[in-house]
C-alpha cells in the first residue's frame, strides 16, 4: 500500500481500525466473548425453547453490553502508555473530534461484528425472524451509545493502572437507559402490548444525545488527567 495523504481524522480512523484488526486487537475477541456468553445461558437457565424465545432479546443485549465493556478500557490507555495520547493533543484537530473518531473506529471494529453475529446467535435462542430483525435494529442504534459512554469511562480511568474494573463500575450504571429501551424495543418487535416504535425512537434519541455530549465529557476528562 502506498502512503497517501489524507485528512488527519481519517488517518486516525484508519490507524485505530488497523490496530483493532491486527493480532491482539479487540475486534475478534469481543465476538468470541459474545458467542461464549450466549452459549452459556441455556446451560444456566435450562434449554426450555419457550423460555429462551421469551428472554432471548434480553440475553443478546446483555451479552453485547458485556462484550463491548471488555474492550473499552484499552481505548485511551493503550495510547497513554505508548505516548500517542500526548501527540494527539498536538494535532490541528480538536480533542473532542479525536475522541469521537476513536469511538467510531472502536465501534466499527468491535461493535459492528457483534451486530453481524447477533442474528446467528439469536437462532440458538429460538428467536423468530422478526425478533432477530428487532434485535439487530436495536443493537445497531444502541451500541454506538454504549461505545460513546464507554469512552467517558475509558477517558476518566486512563491514568489508573488496571482500571478496567473501575471503568466498568463507572460505565455500567450509565448504560441502564440504553439497556431498558434497547431490550423493550427488541421484545416489542416480536409482538407484545408496546408498539415497536415508541421505545425504539427513545433509543435513537439517547444515541443522538450521546453523540452530542459524550465526546465533550471524554475530552474534558483527558485534558484534566493529562496533568
Amino acid at each position: 500500500m502506498t502512503p497517501a495523504s489524507t485528512s488527519p481524522l481519517w488517518a486516525l480512523f484508519l490507524r485505530e481500525w488497523r490496530v483493532a484488526r491486527r493480532i491482539g486487537g479487540s475486534g475478534a475477541m469481543g465476538v468470541v466473548f459474545f458467542l461464549t456468553f450466549v452459549t452459556l445461558v441455556p446451560f444456566a437457565i435450562g434449554a426450555d425453547p419457550n423460555l429462551l424465545a421469551r428472554i432471548g432479546p434480553a440475553i443478546l443485549w446483555i451479552a453485547a453490553l458485556m462484550a463491548s465493556l471488555l474492550s473499552f478500557d484499552r481505548l485511551f490507555q493503550a495510547d497513554a502508555e505508548d505516548g500517542s495520547l500526548d501527540l494527539l493533543h498536538l494535532g490541528s484537530s480538536p480533542l473532542e473530534l479525536v475522541v469521537l473518531i476513536k469511538c467510531l473506529a472502536h465501534w466499527a471494529a468491535s461493535g459492528l461484528p457483534l451486530i453481524l453475529a447477533a442474528p446467528f446467535l439469536g437462532l440458538m435462542l429460538q428467536q423468530e425472524p422478526i425478533a432477530l430483525g428487532g434485535v439487530v435494529a436495536t443493537l445497531l442504534v444502541g451500541t454506538p451509545a454504549l461505545t460513546l459512554i464507554g469512552g467517558i469511562g475509558a477517558a476518566a480511568t486512563v491514568t489508573v493502572r488496571r482500571g478496567g474494573l473501575l471503568m466498568a463500575l463507572l460505565v455500567l450504571p450509565l448504560t441502564i437507559p440504553i439497556l431498558i429501551f434497547g431490550v423493550s424495543a427488541a421484545e416489542a418487535a416480536s409482538g407484545g402490548s408496546v408498539p415497536f416504535l415508541s421505545p425504539f425512537l427513545i433509543l435513537c434519541a439517547i444515541t443522538l444525545t450521546a453523540f452530542a455530549l459524550c465526546p465533550f465529557a471524554a475530552a474534558a476528562a483527558l485534558r484534566y488527567l493529562g496533568e
Partner: protein, 201 residues
Amino acid sequence: MRLCVEGLSVQRAGRRIIDNIGFKLTEGEALVVCGRNGAGKSTLLRALAGLLPTTQGVISLNRGVLEVELAQNTHYLAHADGMKLALSVEENLNFWANYLAGPSHPRSQSIPQALSIVGLTHALRAPFGALSAGQKRRAALARLLVVYRPLWLLDEPMTALDQASRARLAQAMRAHCAEGGIIIVATHEPLGFVTTRELAL
C-alpha cells in the same frame, strides 16, 4: 520565529516544580536544559508543549509580529515513542505525517527520506514491535522529519542510541537549526553539536 517564556511556574501535586523561569530563543538557537533527576526537565518540556497547565507565566511563539498556535508548531519527543507496535514503521509514520500535518511545508520530508536520515531505510515495512529499542527511537525521530514544525522539544533524545545514530541525530538537529528552527533538549549527555544556550534547573 521567536519563542518567549516569561515567569513560567508549574505546580504538580501541590509542589512547585518549575519556579519563575524565563528565556527567549530566536531562529536557529538551541537550548539545553540540564539538571539532576527530578529537577523538572520533563515537566518544563511538557508545559512548553501545552500538555501541562501552567500556574503562572506566558509562553508565546511568534512569527514576525504574529503570534502563532504553539501546539501546532511543536514537535514533542518524550520517553515513549508514540508508535503502535502492531503497525509497520511506514504505517506509523504515515499516520503521524497525516495527523500532524498542517498546510504542506517544503521542508517536510517523505517517509523514505526521513528514514534514510535516521539510518532506518531497511525497516520501512517492519512491524514497529519487532524493532530494537534504539531502532524504535530512530523511527520516533523520523517523525520529527516527516512533518516540518519549527519548535522541537526533545526529552532525552539520545536514550538507547548508538554512536553512529547520535551523530546522525546531531546532524539532523544542526540542519534544523540552520533552517531557522528552535530546539529545546533535556539531556544529561553531550549532544555532539555546539549549542547556543544552556538552562540549569
